[in-house]
Amino acid sequence: MSNRKSRSRQTGVPMITEEQINDLVLQLHRLLPELGNNRRSGKVSASRVLQETCSYIRNLSKEVDDLSERLSQLLESTDSAQAALIRSLLMQ
């Protein structure tokens, strides 16, 4: 924790080790959807994880775009949209 404080004041530059970076990357990897990437026997290459993270983010953004479009069309056509919204969310 003291690492964070000194870094925030930018007095010195505490070296965050490669190992810690790799550990962070591993944690990141666990969050990604397991698309055929389950627990490789050896180490998962850090750059690979980052690449997949990039494409995952891009996919999610694209989905947000598509869903926004659909929502826009749907909201346009219904008048009682608000009741429908609440109803649909309650029926998750």
Partner: protein
């Protein structure tokens, strides 16, 4: 692995929080733009998309996260408003100039290259150090997927009518 304190905190709020914020944004949109006004469809889509991102940032903790802060800032700039930042206990200079960042980061260049691409995707990533970037990315991914789920539920519910 002596990195117990480096565990990324990826607690995101429940889905309901995201849903609530998004619904509020949407209803605000509706009151601002009555349905019979001849708005172009692209504008509506863009507004909804922006509402999605802003409500996601708010649901995720508002100004307490670097990425959400950057997102809200960007959105507020578009609207020519100003964002209020909550007081933080410790002073964090959350914007590191890229020159300084480059000198800080002596990592494997392969990792750095991929991290650079990631920086372009995560809001506010340009000023983050690599380790901070990892944390923010993790949180961002979780929130984004939550937001997508919420929107999907909405769409499904509306199309069933």
């Amino acid at each position: 692995m002596a990195s117990a304190d480096k565990l990324i905190n990826t607690d995101v709020p429940e889905k309901d929080v995201f849903a609530l914020h998004f619904l509020q944004s949407l209803s605000n949109l509706k009151t601002q733009n009555p349905l019979n006004s001849p708005a172009k469809s692209i504008d509506r889509v863009r507004k909804i998309k922006k509402a999605a991102y802003v409500s996601m940032a708010r649901a995720a903790g508002g100004t307490s996260r670097l990425w959400s802060r950057a997102l809200l800032r960007r959105a507020a700039k578009d609207d020519n408003k100003s964002v209020r930042f909550s007081r933080r206990k410790r002073k964090v200079t959350w914007k590191i100039s890229s020159k300084r960042r480059k000198s800080n980061n002596q990592r494997a260049p392969v990792v750095e290259e991929a991290a650079e691409r990631l920086r372009n995707l995560v809001p506010g990533g340009g000023g983050m150090e690599t380790s901070k970037l990892m944390e923010e990315t993790a949180h961002y991914i979780k929130c984004l997927s939550m937001q997508v789920k919420v929107m999907q539920c909405l769409v499904d519910g509306l199309s069933q009518k």
